[in-house]
């Protein structure tokens, strides 16, 4: 999932948490991104910008990915 020539950069924000920028190769899906961050896709609803997307959504350069945790304590 490392940056290659012609790679893309996306911002990833866990809801209620900070933002980090991630470099990816082109053609990476939301599901692959979540997995590469060490998370379980079952535990997140993912949006790109304001729109909820499915895990096969292919990311574009400059996308802002928002991770909504499904699991909450309380």
């Amino acid at each position: 999932m490392v940056e290659e020539a012609g790679g893309i950069r996306v911002k990833v924000r866990e809801f209620g948490g900070g933002i980090r920028e991630v470099s990816l190769r082109r053609g990476v899906s939301v599901g692959e991104l979540v997995k590469s961050l060490g998370y379980i896709i079952e535990e997140y609803v993912v949006a790109v910008g304001e729109t909820v997307v499915t895990e096969d959504y292919l990311l574009n350069d400059g996308d802002e990915v928002v991770l909504y945790p499904v699991v909450s304590g309380g």
């Binding site: 209620g16 896709i41 949006a47 729109t51 499915t54 499904v70 909450s72 309380g74």
Partner: protein, 314 residues
């Protein structure tokens, strides 16, 4: 990118077990169909019921309150709905979630009743946990919280004339509890894991779980789409200490490897129990407090005695 299996628009959700992709509109219809089916099949509510909804302020219970209020209007059910929040007294946590419940209740125009551990038991959960530690009791905070919260939900729902107590337990909760009870060989609790629970005890308020057949991911999506997902992430500091937390992690990991595993575990539960409105097997009355119990002294009074907050006389 998946497209909606029904209309071809961009999908926001894929029901992996059935391979159905759904856009926002068709996801909300799917959600509604599933809940209505659970309500109808298990006869959870009648027209003009006074439904007390247990609302913690988390995404699931806020969604349940929102859904039932809207369903009552749409389907002209004539329900009187009251939100009931238990304030356990966990500093830095419950004050945030109570605020959310107040806001949503006010927006939806429903009555809200807040009952606190402090008022009913004389101690907050933080104080109870501290006393338990000092006395060397073996319980995790979630044990006290679960026992006292269930006790209060029933008692207060009855005090405010509730006919049924609705909780936001979803399929993930039920499957987790099923496995936890298998691990501890607690079959009497497994038999209570039904969408509806009644008792012949006159002080027991009937229970209903309208989200019984929904995955937690689906209730989360409903919350996001309806603007109910909490804007600040505040979690109970005790939650990660619980056994449930570990079971949930393992189940989600396995579900990713084998999609549909939660549904098949649910089918296993259905095999293990007869799911037709199971009545509580025993309907005893706690000899200390007079509340319904499955034993001579209810779990809440037993814990209070162990904490030194109550003296039991033989």
């Amino acid at each position: 990118m998946a497209n909606c299996s029904i209309c071809g628009r961009q999908a926001i959700y894929v029901a992996k077990s059935g391979g159905l992709a759904l856009c926002k509109k068709h996801f909300l219809e799917y959600f509604d169909r599933k809940v209505r089916k659970t309500i109808r099949k298990n006869k959870l509510f009648n027209k003009n019921d006074h439904i007390v909804v247990a609302v913690s302020g988390g995404k699931d219970s806020l969604s349940l309150l929102h859904y039932l209020v809207n369903l009552s209007k749409r389907a002209r059910m004539g329900w009187r709905i009251t939100a009931l929040t238990i304030d356990e007294g966990v500093s830095g946590y419950r004050n945030y979630t109570v605020k959310r419940v107040k806001e949503l209740s006010s927006t939806l125009g429903v009555e809200l009743k807040i009952a606190s551990f402090k008022d009913y038991f004389g101690y907050t959960l933080d104080e109870v946990v501290k006393i338990g530690k000092e006395r060397g009791l073996p319980y995790l905070p979630c044990t006290y919280c679960g026992v006292f919260r269930r006790y209060l939900l029933n008692k207060v729902a009855r005090e405010i004339d509730g006919m049924v107590l609705a909780t936001a337990h979803h399929l993930d909760d039920v499957v987790q509890t099923y496995l936890m009870n298998i691990f501890s060989n607690n079959w009497s609790s497994i038999h209570k894991l039904t969408p509806s629970l009644t008792s012949v005890h006159k002080l027991f308020v009937r229970r209903a779980k309208p989200f019984y057949e929904l995955l937690e991911k689906e209730t989360t999506l409903y919350a996001i789409l309806n603007g109910l997902y909490p804007s600040e992430r505040v979690e109970c500091p005790y939650a990660p200490l619980s056994f449930r937390w570990q079971v949930r992690k393992v189940l989600n990991y396995l579900e990713e490897l084998r999609p549909g595993l939660k549904y098949s575990t649910m089918r296993s539960l259905m095999e293990a129990t007869s799911l037709k409105n199971t009545a509580l097997g025993e309907a005893m009355t706690c000899r200390v407090c007079g509340e319904p119990s499955s034993r001579e002294i209810c779990k809440a009074c037993q814990l209070k005695a162990e904490l030194g907050l109550l003296e039991l006389r033989r």
